[in-house]
């Protein structure tokens, strides 16, 4: 897989989706993210790793302006999506979030039917002209999330009735249903068992073909399995960013080495 990742990285290297420069995040007095510069490529999985509280989730939430919902959060610096500053006054965060989908740590399907869970995004964004179009989007999205075969006979059943792994895949289907360009995943497998985790990881690998995927994970094995690029965060700093194979085999910074060998974290 590492060989393939390197190959992909080479292809996508010039297609930069997100670029953050000199990014600072403050929670009130607390300086949570310090001077982060990172480029996230299209059609590639970028993993953010680091010990708890290092700011990887915070930085992830900057990418679709989810931090806006936190009153005390303040973001400085420059984050561009396809060269456009996402914190520009003219940008509607809601429009941004339709382009940058998000999957959360805990599966959080709406307490509605499976169909409505997936159809909600297309509905509010007016992506389908009619019922048939909506059904098509739902089916495609569920297929992309590798869930269609399991739920096609019970689309009217509540989404909360699925198993944890299925729920998380439903959330992924919901996120891809709005045809985003980037998928942010905040520790998507931390609440799942190993079998569900492996299913979701396979899924992430497939999603890479169409989307730019950013995944925050605690598991270094997971980062090495699914990602092509890895960013290591520590105490709010981006310590090291590079090809996954390089980070895990030949880290340049000793903090990275300490972390991946288990000495800190």
């Amino acid at each position: 897989m590492n060989d393939m990742s390197t190959a992909q990285a080479a292809v996508g290297a010039d297609q930069i989706k997100f670029s953050a420069r000199n990014c600072q995040v403050y929670y009130g007095e607390n300086h949570a993210i310090k001077d982060v510069d990172v480029d996230i490529n299209d059609k590639m999985v970028t993993a953010f790793i680091g010990p708890s509280g290092c700011g990887k989730s915070t930085f992830l939430r900057c990418l679709n302006r989810m931090n806006d919902t936190i009153d005390i959060a303040r973001i400085e610096g420059d984050i561009r999506l396809d060269g456009e500053d996402i914190y520009d006054k003219r940008v509607d965060p809601v429009q941004l979030r339709a382009k940058v989908g998000m999957v959360f740590q805990k599966p959080n399907p709406f307490p509605k039917s499976i169909f409505d869970n997936v159809a909600y995004g297309p509905r509010i964004h007016g992506l389908a002209k009619d019922r048939a179009g909506l059904e098509e989007i739902v089916e495609t999205s569920l297929r992309k999330a590798a869930l269609w075969e399991e739920v096609k006979d019970r689309l009217a059943a509540p989404g909360t009735g699925l198993s944890g792994g299925q729920q998380q895949r439903l959330c992924i289907a919901r996120a891809v249903a709005t045809s985003p360009e980037v998928l942010l995943m905040d520790e998507p497998c931390s609440a799942l068992d190993p079998i569900a985790t492996s299913q979701v990881e396979d899924l992430i690998d497939q999603l890479r073909e169409q989307y730019s995927v950013v995944i925050v994970t605690h598991s270094m094995q997971q980062a090495s399995r699914v990602s092509q690029k890895t960013a290591f965060f520590h105490l709010g700093n981006l310590v090291e960013f590079g090809d996954t194979s390089q980070i895990f085999t030949n880290p340049k910074d000793e903090r990275t080495e300490s972390y991946i060998t288990g000495r800190i974290g």
Binding site: D71, F104, F110
Partner: protein
């Protein structure tokens, strides 16, 4: 027993205490636990006891009052009363007939007399019998034997009364004579007394007097004492007065048994259907409310202090006979729920009050739900967290603690301004004003409940919606609000139930004084702008009534209705919560 192991934990392993032995520390902990447990149990028992007392006192008085004693009268629509001039009967003519002299006396009382007599009850005889019994009882109590025969022998009760009265007078004359200096006159009076007693047939008493008379010349004072000690004089006078009673039993006495005042309904019925004149139709009339206290056994009527006010033994005897033949019966008083308020407990009802309360609830629902939910969504989902919103939040909590009477004062102040502006009287005591004042009172409760319900929606749902590009408004209305709806509904129903029971603010805006309130029109026909009553204010009015059966019966009946409504609302709230509650 798992506690025990932890209790033994700190012990040093060297001593190896057995798990079966309780250490002092464990015993103390058990003691403390037991004390706490029994204190809690005691507190609950106390609360249940008081609740039981409350419910018992309300139900034991209020529930029987819902069953009313009714006299079934074959009402004869007497042409002589309704059509006095004898010509063609017209609606105007009937409408002009007085409710008091025409309908109450002319129709109801005379029909009652006819009905009673048709049932085979001789009113005069029934009444006379009572008084004769009382007379006999009075004389027997004094030791005058054979009284029943004497009264029977005298023929008419009036004659017997005369005879007994004369005998009593003879005793009084003898006492007076003994008190004087003239011993001969005294001896003659005693002689006359003995003759009178023998003539009346009271031979035992005569011989007793003879004994007293023998010693009278030596010690007149002792003779007077002896005469008074016999108690004959009082017994004879009492018996005489009992026997004179029946003569006073007239239409007014008979009519007082039932309540037939202001029978507009009967008059309206005749006006609407003139063919009724001359026919006989069964018609119910409530039994006078103080009489119901006798019928229900609350007053025994055996002596003056237990006599229903305004009645005598003869009424009771007649009523007893009427119950026996089934003219008076007890039936559930459905009219209580539809009748207008009245001072007279017989026809008083809670119709306008029920409607008024329902209308006010409607107004409260619309106003407080609309404004409460809107305010809550704004504060919870959109408002920035700053000092200003903190200030609002604190003051909403403060508002919830404001005594309801203060809202009443506010309502009164608004009313005062409206009166100044010239249209205050049209809104005084209406369901609209009442509802608005109650809404102000309910609003904080609903805001607090709604905010709690919105807060209880997990943030992950908001994140999920925002994460796929829903706006704040879409998130609030598509996800948060529907999920919070059961909680909001519960809070609203509880707020409304609270408003339903609120009296104080309504007293101040004229709802309590609108005693003449009619059944309200439909809300879309301006029913909200009509004078109205509410359940709590009608309870307040009943509780101030001069008749004990209203104060202690109907007031409780109205309370029962109100409590049932409240329980129904709370039950609804619980059911809705159970039905729609979601778990994450």
């Amino acid at each position: 027993m798992a506690d025990m192991t932890t209790g033994n934990g700190p012990q040093s392993p060297a001593s190896k205490p057995s798990l079966f032995v309780r250490t002092a520390q464990v015993r103390r902990r058990h003691q403390r636990g037991a004390v706490l447990k029994y204190l809690g149990l005691g507190a609950i028992c106390l609360v249940l006891f008081f609740l039981g007392v409350l419910l018992f006192s309300i139900v034991s008085r209020g529930a029987p009052a819902l069953w009313q004693y009714q006299a079934q009268i074959d009402l004869f629509y007497d042409p002589e009363v309704l059509n006095a001039d004898g010509g063609e009967v017209t609606a105007e003519e009937v409408a002009g007939v007085s409710l008091r002299s025409g309908f109450e006396r002319g129709l109801f009382t005379s029909s009652l007399r006819r009905t009673i007599e048709a049932a085979g009850i001789d009113i005069e005889a029934t009444v006379a019998e009572v008084w004769t019994e009382d007379a006999v009882a009075a004389m027997d109590a004094a030791g005058l034997s054979g009284s029943a025969e004497i009264i029977a022998a005298a023929g008419a009760p009036g004659d017997a009364a005369g005879l007994l009265g004369q005998t009593g007078n003879a005793i009084r004359a003898a006492v007076t004579a003994l008190g004087g200096d003239d011993t001969e006159a005294a001896a003659a009076a005693l002689e006359a007394l003995q003759t009178a007693l023998s003539d009346a047939g009271l031979t035992d008493a005569a011989s007793e007097i003879a004994g007293i008379a023998a010693g009278a010349s030596d010690d007149p004072a002792a003779a007077v004492q002896a005469l008074q000690d016999t108690g004959y004089q009082q017994a004879l006078f009492d018996a005489a007065s009992f026997l004179r009673q029946p003569a006073q039993f007239d239409d007014a006495e008979l009519g007082s048994i039932i309540f037939a005042a202001n029978r507009r309904d009967v008059r309206d019925r005749v006006v609407a259907d003139l063919d009724l004149v001359g026919t006989t139709v069964p018609e119910g009339a409530p039994v006078a409310i103080s009489m119901t206290r006798y019928l229900s056994g609350e007053l025994s009527g055996e002596n003056q202090s237990t006599m229903p006010p305004g009645f005598t033994q003869s009424h009771l005897a007649l009523v007893d006979r009427m119950v026996e033949v089934g003219i008076i019966s007890r039936a559930f008083n459905w009219n209580f729920f539809t009748n207008l308020y009245s001072q007279s407990g017989e026809i008083a009802g809670i119709g306008p009050a029920l409607m008024g309360s329902a209308y006010m609830m409607l107004v409260v629902l619309v106003f407080s739900l609309l404004f409460g939910v809107a305010a809550s969504i704004y504060l919870e989902e959109f408002a920035p967290k700053n000092r200003f919103t903190d200030f609002i939040e604190i003051n909403i909590a403060n508002l919830a603690a404001v005594p309801s009477i203060v809202f009443g004062i506010l309502g009164a102040a608004i009313l005062f301004v409206l009166v100044e502006l010239g249209f205050g009287n049209s809104i005084r005591g209406t369901a609209l004003l009442g509802g608005i004042v109650l809404s102000l009172m309910t609003l904080p409760t609903i805001v607090i409940a709604t905010r709690a319900a919105l807060k209880a929606v997990p943030p992950s749902i908001r994140d999920a919606a925002l994460g796929i590009g829903a706006s704040k408004v879409q998130t609030a209305f598509h996800h948060t609000l529907p999920l919070a709806a059961p909680g909001i509904l519960t809070g609203t129903i509880i707020g409304i139930a609270q408003a339903l029971g609120e009296t104080a603010p309504l007293l101040l805006i004229g709802v309590s004084v609108s005693t003449g309130a009619d059944i309200l029109s439909a809300p879309w026909n301006g029913g909200l702008l009509e004078q109205t009553q509410s359940m709590p204010t009608v309870v307040y009015l009943f509780a101030q009534n001069e008749d004990a059966p209203v104060r202690e019966g109907l007031a409780q009946s109205a309370i029962i209705v109100m409590l049932l409504l409240l329980f129904a609302l709370n039950f609804l709230a619980i059911t809705l919560r159970r039905r729609f509650e979601r778990r994450w």
